[in-house]
Symmetry: none
Subunit: 219 residues, 4 copies
DNA sequence: GATGAATGAGATTTCATTCAT
DNA sequence: GATGAATGAAATCTCATTCAT
């Protein structure tokens, strides 16, 4: 109450008090995390607000204080799912002077994520996200944006490799990037179908394909 | 006419007339096709029975003559989506004595599908299917079965290439197959996000990766 | 066809040809019998027209040639259920000069019906009928009419017994009749609840109550 | 308030606050009462949830907070209809040393119920219950249980009368009980058909039949 | 006359959202 | 701020009835 009065003079009311803001964010986080679990378990649409409430130990009324509706929770969950630090990892790899080492770092960085015990939830939720993206403009936009960022980052990597003469310069860099992303996303799909699939073996294959060591026949 | 008379005398006749059977299948087909469009457009769960009815130019009651409920339509749509003649294509490729030619045939066979104007609908529906698979046992089973068939087929291809010394024999064949499938499915995901993506360029990259021509650096 | 022409001159067209009429009645009978079974099994309202069709080995379209709708089948079933030859039995009993013999004949006539193996179906259907009567004016009317006939017949019986000095003349004859009917209907209810209940023992009690032999204490 | 605070600290609390529990019961009561009226008016199956909603001044959603479905409301209504304090009345009568006085008390206790202006609703609902019982296992069970209780109670009455020599010991006590119940239920049926029927006259007849005073002829 | 596929109104039920407490 | 009972629109599904064949 005091805090509120303190700030009631601030023009434009750009800030709600910090304590509240922190609380607000914490609550939102809590709700999105709960929603995430539910979505991974049942999918976006079959998940009811009650499911999320139960998972978050909150009442329906409380939820609506933090989110305008289910749609907004889905969007937040999608944004959350996109929030991986992909760009940073890519930038780090780019610093690597040896192309194969670069690919190794990339593959390791991305595929070591599957060691996280929460990865299965995340993978399953990703499938939901893809489906929603195909159907929901707002979600597609967010997905698209993140995709563009990753695409741009890997584009640098690929073009650098081509510049170095390690990757065939006549291949479309965009298509090479798409293939790299496909190797990652396509694996997540298979991992969602069967979580026991061998990640390390797959990572080795991915690295070999990119680094040109898988082909042992005539050049 | 004769059949009709025949039927009116025999109770408990084992066969309903063929016309009915044909009609039954035709109607089911019609409904599943309509559902497919709706699913691609709105997703499984946001699609209402009314949507499907409208698309199929049928009344709700008529739908329930052919399917016990929405769930069953979803399952049929999933089965339909799986019904691609993958196994045949793979077997044909396997007959090819040259490994790169084999990969070329495979890549061509699979990626030429995207030329079909209906491919977009099919891709978007696939995303729905993946999401449903994560959440619906019956659908996962069907998906899993089809995946196993394709996996087995490509397994032959990969082991043959290893036997010939064209692919590194120390790589896990299963993981190699997974990567091939990932290159395909991962592209479908990207195509669903942006249908204008260049399929031919991507196919060239896929072929180059498998055939070891993408890497132009030191061996 | 020929028959039809033969009659096409008859004024007023009161008769449809006898063969057709017989056929019509036979079909109606067949349908009502089927309906009766269904009603006894599931009740009036949960029984669907399809249930009746299946039981009657007829198509829905055929049913509607004989009955205007479900309502009409229910009414016919009710009329059928009422069509017992009660009045005749009562008239016969009335001829008996000895009152106790008269009661014996009545009780025997009515309770021996429960020996019929179809009696259970009939009893269960009666419960449905009673429920419908409470709710459906047309059915109540039909029920009411039959009830009045039986009531009148038993009224004669009771008044005759009072005239002879065998039943207390100060008791309301209508109430006595009601009690006789209650002893019958109330038993049917119990028989529907438990078909193994001992009919003969009950009949002896009913006779004893009416004939004044159940009371063995001081007068 | 205290309770509320208490509650907010303890997760997994075993009791929900009493207010809620009371409220729950009150609402259920309210709904069942409304349903009862509807059932008496239209029968179980023709009554729609909307009918019950309207009668209870509640929205459809609200109903489903208290009952899982229509079936459950029907069952509750049936249980409610059985909840008469029959056993108590019978026990009281049993205390009476004079058999005719005992019968008088019984008849009076049961038939005075028809003076209640709500009795008509109750009777009509009973017919629905009987019909449902014939068709619905769960309802039959509940009915059967209550019937057994009443049967046992009246069995004591009858055997006591036989012990005293007032009722013929050679008559089956169970059948005598059945007849007593039939005199009651059979009357309810007639009262549902015609609510103006003279209850007092009928009660006198019932008493006379049991007490052996209806027969005025030779013994 | 018979068939049975199709219709579509209407019933049950769910669930996102609101709002009095 | 929190609660959770209530709302009511909308979804799924049923079934009496019709009608082209």
């Amino acid at each position: 109450m005091l805090i509120k009065n303190e700030h009631s003079f601030s023009f434009g009311a750009k800030h709600v008090p910090k304590v509240s803001e922190a609380h607000l964010e914490a609550r939102k986080e809590q709700i999105v995390r709960a929603a995430f679990l539910c979505f991974a378990r049942k999918g976006f649409h079959p998940t009811t607000m009650q499911d999320i409430c139960a998972e978050a130990h909150l009442s329906p009324g409380a939820l609506y204080r933090y989110f305008a509706g289910k749609e907004e929770i889905i969007q937040s969950a999608c944004d959350e799912a996109q929030a991986a630090q992909d760009a940073g990892l890519i930038a780090e790899a780019l610093a690597e002077p040896d192309t194969r080492a670069m690919f190794h770092r990339l593959v390791h960085a991305f595929f070591s994520r599957f060691d996280d015990p929460a990865a299965d939830v995340y993978n399953r939720a990703s499938l939901q996200l893809w489906a929603e993206m195909a159907v929901n403009d707002r979600v597609r936009e967010s997905f698209s944006h993140n995709h563009a960022v990753v695409h741009a980052g890997l584009g640098e990597v690929v073009r650098e490799a081509q510049r170095r003469g390690d990757l065939d310069g006549s291949l479309d860099p965009g298509a090479l990037v798409s293939a790299m992303i496909a190797l990652y996303d396509g694996f997540r799909l298979q991992k969602a179908l069967d979580p026991t699939i061998d990640t390390a073996a797959y990572a080795r294959v991915a690295e070999a394909l990119l680094g040109g060591t898988s082909w042992t026949g005539a050049r």
